[in-house]
Structure formats: C-alpha cells, structure tokens
Symmetry: C2
Subunit: 409 residues, 2 copies
C-alpha cells in the first residue's frame, strides 16, 4: 500500500477540483415544472424584450408627460380622451399633444404617450374630456419595453442553480423547457461485518446500518440520484465484485465504513486493483473523520467513508457535496453561516481541524451554541444537532462567550 | 361583497391556525430511502436498545477496569488472554479478574468486562499473556447497551420533519419504513387576460405567466404536490368551473393574480358562490402584497394571490408555506436569520409592514445588505435577490449601518 500523508480538508477540495473539473455529465431537457433545484447546462439568452411593449404599472391615463407639467388641483390640465386600451391586446391608438387614453394596470401604452397618470389624480368631465390634477414626469408609472430583461441579454449562465424565482424568470422570457445537467448518479455499498440492514432481524453483536440511510438522504437532498445500495462483506472478492458490477452505471460509489479500521486495507486493495489513476488521497487531518479515502477510477469517483456516523455526515457535507458541485459545474454559491455565542469552554488541542455538533438556543437577541457532548458515534446526538462548528487546526479550543459561525444541518 | 379590514401578517397567521388546525391529511407508509423531508404522522418509539449490547469504541482488550488501576509502563498489569470477540457475533466469553479478551472497534464486550484498553497501551507477551501499560476507568472506551437510544424511548414525535440524520436514527432502531403525512396537494389557476403560458406564442400586449412557475417551484420545494395548473379567463363562469372541477382532488387552490385589480371582484364572487365558511380575510397591511384573499370552502383553502411577482413570492413565503406547515401539523421550526448591515438609507413610512428584496455582499467579517431598487414587478430583480428583509409597520425606514435580519430566498 502506498503511503499518503493526511491532508486538511481545503487541500483535498483542491485535489477534487483538479481531478474532476473535466467531468462530463450528460444533459437533459426539462419542463419548467420540474427544473427547480437543477443546474443549467447552457447559458440562457433571452430571445425577447421583457416586457415586449411599454406597460402601465397603474390604472390610469396614458398621455404625454409634458401636457401635465405645472397642472394642479386648482389649475388642472384639460385633455381629450381618444379611447381605451384593452388588457392583453395591442393598441393602435396614437396620442398627440393634448390627448390621452385609458390604460389598465399591465396594459400597453399607445404610441406617442410617455407616462401614465393614476386614476385618482384625474377627473373625468365627460366621455371625451379629462382633468389631470397632478403632473407626471416622463416614464412615470411605466415599465419600458426591455426594462426587465433585454433581448439578447444572458439571463443565467451555464452552471446556474435554478431557484424558484429563476423558474419564473425563465417563464418570463418564454422558455417552457431548459437544458440541465442530469443528476449525478451514485451507489452506496455498506461494509462492516457487524452491519445489517434495518429490513433484517438484528442478532446480538450486530447493529443496524445507519450511515447508508443518513448519507443517501443527504445526497438525494443535495440533488444526487442514488440508484441503490447494498452490503458487501469485508472481503476483497465481494467488495471488488460489487464495485465493478455497479461502476459502469454510476458517477460515484460510496463505500460506507470503507475507511474504518477493519475495512480500510480491503478498500485500498480493491481500489488499487480497479485501474488508474487510483487513490487520490487517504487520510484527512480532521476530527472526527481522519480515515477517508478518495479515489478516481477512469472518470468515476470512489469514496471510502468513515464508519463513525458523525464523521460520515461531516465528511459528506465537507467533501462529497462539493464534489457533486464540481461535476455539476455549479456556480460558486455563498454559504451563509449563522452567528452564535459559544456556551461553554471546549478544548481542541490536537492540531487538527475539528467539527463539533452543536445545539442552538435563542436567548434574547442572540443564539447560544453548545457542543453536543456524549460518547463518540451516537446517532441520537446527531438528531439533536442543529448544526456544526469548525475549530481550525491552529486554535486550541473555544471559550465560553466567543462568537462562532454555525453551518446548519 | 363583505368588507374586510386589512390585517397584518401575524394576525392572518393566527386566523389560518384557527381555521386549519383540525385539517385531516391522510398518511402513507414510506421506505426510509424516500422519507427525507417528510413529516411524521405518528410518534416513533424505539422497540430496541441501541446498541443492544455493550460495544467497544476502539480496537483493544476488554477487561475489568479494576485490574488496571495503578499500572504503568514501568509497572504493567499482567492479564490472561482468554480469547477474542468476532465482529458482528455474540460472544460467550466471560471475563474473570485477571483475564481479558481481544475486541475490535464495534465489537461486543464479553460478560464480566467493564472497560476496554486500547491496543496501543498494551504489549502482547505471548498468545495468552498481555501487559497493560495504562489504567482505564470503568466504562472507558465502551458504549453501553441503550446508551444511544433506550428501548421504549420516544425518538421523534408526530409532526417531526425528517432530516437526513433522522433517517439514520430510524435505521438505527430497525425501522425500515415510516408513516408520514402525504404531501399536501395543490393546483394553480392563473388569471389575467393578458397572461399567456410560456408554451404559447406571445402577441404584443400579452405577457408570459411568471407567477405560476415561481409559486409551483417554491411550493414543490417546500413539500407540496402541485398536481397541475391552468389558465382561467377573468370571468365568473370560467373561474368557478375550473375551481369546482379541481377542488375535490386537492387540499388547496391558488388563484394566481386572483387578488389583482382586474380579477379581485370575480375571485370574491366565485368564492362566495362556492360554499361555507367562505372568505377568511381579504387585504393585508403589507407592502408589497396588500390584495391577498384567503378563503376556506369546506375544509379546503383557496388563495387569491397578488399578480405582482415580488408580492406573490413574499406572500407565498409568509403565509402559504406556514399554511402547509399547519395542515402537516409540523413541529415548530426555528427560522434562522442571517444578520447583515444595511447599506443605504431607505424610507418606509406608509404605516404598513414592508418586505424589501436585498442583495448580500460580504465585506471583511460582515455582510452588507442593499435593497434591490427598480421598478415594481421586475422578475429579473427577484432573480438577483439573495433574500428579503422585513421593515415593521411602526418603523420609518432603515438607516445605513443599521443591523438587519435577512430571510434567505
């Protein structure tokens, strides 16, 4: 077995970027109804102006603004009403000086007009005569053609994650479907001779498989398609057989518990037997989570994950989800962190980055973050966690009263 | 038409709670693979202790802690090795004073033992003799039976939203499926004679339907099942026909643009013709979004939403999503807000709660929030927003430098 130095998380992120930047994920065309949360596979350029015509933002009268300058309640401007604009229809009216036409909210401004005076600042004297009581400036109460989106504007770039309001914007430019990257496909193989599926009966000495379910839920939530999962014995043949069988159908395989003490060597041997380039890194200078294997076979990724439930979730969030972002070519997202005040002294002087699960309690204007203490590996503890905090390698712990940043779970 | 006073958002939330608290949503049984993000329909009680046996957290030797007291590198404790524990199997070994047995990480402790000494603090002299170089205390390096979850403990209550790590916890107690509330079913009817679907060709005077797509994306993301959408003309018969046809199949109907100037009266007339109890509230003292209709027909909800894209999204997030939480009987969630520093003076002196879309820019240790200014109703503006800020009704605006709380979009 080759020796690999343990590396900090940021260094592994760089290696992932280097190795998987050229990943080719195929694309699919989706109707807007199904596109939320997906990542654009091409730039979106608008073929139209939005709106396609000058549009009123109020109910009122379209006119030339200059005709209202200086008017007031005591000295109204008199205008001739030459007609009205129907909602959703093109108008052929033309406004000359001294003229106006009724236009509803969202209606099209007639040619010649450059502003709309709100209904409440007018008095209709008869069918063809209007008093305007308040002046308007040019373009007032109007959205101009192309004000929202201009024809040929790039609305979104390749790699853009589609939020609900983005789906609305795509509808606005008349796109009814978009090309997105297909969901990255993954498969989870659980290892550990004591691990059994919750669908089976538990015998004394055995424990239920926790990590497969936590990880597949988190991966699906993050936009991956986990096509299945199964258990492999901690033997070279069984693990190799399971991986080679599934590898052609997926983009990545996760070996749950594959970096645990009892399985690590088997995982490494199997990966080394599968092809090139092989293991990228092995071991992370992070607590919890040190034993983590990242490998690349052809263009696919293989992850050997720790068996410890907290480690598995932290490594998944810190490395596997960013890997998905890389192969999806996702635009850099801002990760907003919640600020909180640390609740009790907590030492961390082992020279490694540490991730601590915390519970958050509101207290007047602030949030108090307390570490969830308990024996290592408790799943119940993780269900009580609201998030986690990172303690840098060069920091000797956290003091009560210190401000910390929380990544929510 | 009955007159309804405009109400603040919090008051409408109370009314929603009052009217929809007793909503009966049917339930379904889901495999764990599909349960993330769903809401439990019954309490989950553990039928087993987790773990079901005393378990080692390290590779080492199980022994009686008392046998190691006082030992050191210069004065090791001598113990008899009586065997080893196999991973995933029940052990029949029994540790007497002066004895020990090898146990791997996750392995079962033999009866009689109460601690595990790590491999690295031992020296094996021969197959049956061990030197222990460091004392351990009782229960050290052990997870006791039931330490994680105790038999008969309530793990989660009805109404609990299942996070990824909760799915892991369900697996831990051997649940392979859970009873959850089915997704609330909704249908969106868009109105406005100028509105056309992005699948159709746009004529001058018409605009594409934005809000249906923004809202259905946001609702699906929030866990609703939007079974379809269509357009209705702003006529009593057409709107009534469409609502009565779909109402038996859904829990709620959203009339997009149903509270807009041109459609409001038709919406109200149709709702009044459909049955009891009818309109709950009509008009909100909030900017943007004032014209919002909330009605109840039988046990179903009908929402008349503003046509303005920003209003529609804000009202959806402030009222419709909480309505979903009510009918799902969801446990109260903490909503974490991001703190930011306001970037420019912004007046808001109309006596109504105001929601302002903002962009966030990191600046050293803080985030700067700037209002997205632009003509009302621009969808492109909403796509640039990172979140929104609420200005209370009694506040006259926001000053540059003030701390604000952002709800992310």
């Amino acid at each position: 077995m080759e020796m690999f130095k343990v590396k900090p998380v940021d260094k592994v992120l760089e290696l992932l970027k280097e190795h998987f930047d050229g990943f080719k994920l195929s694309t699919e065309n989706l109707l807007l109804d199904a596109a939320e949360g997906r990542v654009l596979a091409s730039d979106i350029k608008s073929k139209i102006d939005v709106p396609q015509f000058n549009r009123s933002t109020v109910d009122g009268y379209a006119l030339k603004a200059v005709d209202t300058f200086g008017c007031s309640e005591s000295l109204p401007a008199f205008l001739e009403i030459i007609g009205e604009v129907n909602m959703g229809e093109e108008t052929k009216l033309f406004i000359e000086n001294g003229q106006c036409a009724y236009v509803p909210t969202g209606g099209m401004l007639p040619s010649g007009s450059d502003a709309v005076v709100m209904l409440e600042y007018t008095e209709k004297l008869d069918d063809i005569t209007l008093n305007v009581l308040k002046p308007v400036s040019p373009n007032q109460n109007v959205i101009l053609k192309g004000d929202d989106i201009k024809k040929n504007d790039i609305l979104f770039k390749k790699g853009h994650l589609l939020k609900p309001q983005d789906i609305g914007a795509l509808a606005a430019i008349g796109k009814s479907s978009v090309e997105v990257f297909r969901k990255p496909r993954g498969y989870i193989i659980s290892t550990g001779d004591e691990i059994v599926s919750p669908t089976e009966n538990l015998r004394i000495g055995q424990v239920n498989d926790i990590n497969t379910y936590t990880m597949l839920s988190e991966l699906k939530k993050a936009g991956a398609n986990i096509i299945g999962h199964s258990h492999a014995k901690d033997r070279f043949e069984d693990l190799k057989h399971k991986i080679t069988k599934i590898l052609p159908d997926v983009d990545f395989v996760i070996i749950s518990g594959g970096s645990s003490v009892g399985t690590k060597d088997v995982t490494v041997d199997v990966i080394n037997s599968l092809g090139k380039p092989g293991i990228i890194t092995h071991g992370l200078s992070v607590k919890p989570g040190k034993p983590t294997i990242v490998a690349k076979i052809g263009d696919k990724a293989i992850w050997g994950m720790p068996g410890h439930p907290v480690s598995a979730l932290v490594i998944l969030k810190r490395l596997v989800l960013p890997f998905l972002d890389i192969i999806l070519k996702k635009e850099k997202q801002m990760i907003y962190k919640i600020k909180a005040v640390w609740g009790q002294n907590y030492p961390s002087n082992h020279g490694k980055e540490e991730y601590v699960m915390v519970s958050l309690t509101p207290s007047e204007e602030i949030l108090i973050a307390n570490p969830l203490l308990g024996k290592s590996g408790l799943i119940s503890l993780m269900s009580k966690a609201d998030g986690f905090v990172k303690i840098p390698a060069n920091k000797e712990g956290l003091l009560s009263g210190e401000e910390v940043e929380i990544e929510l779970l």
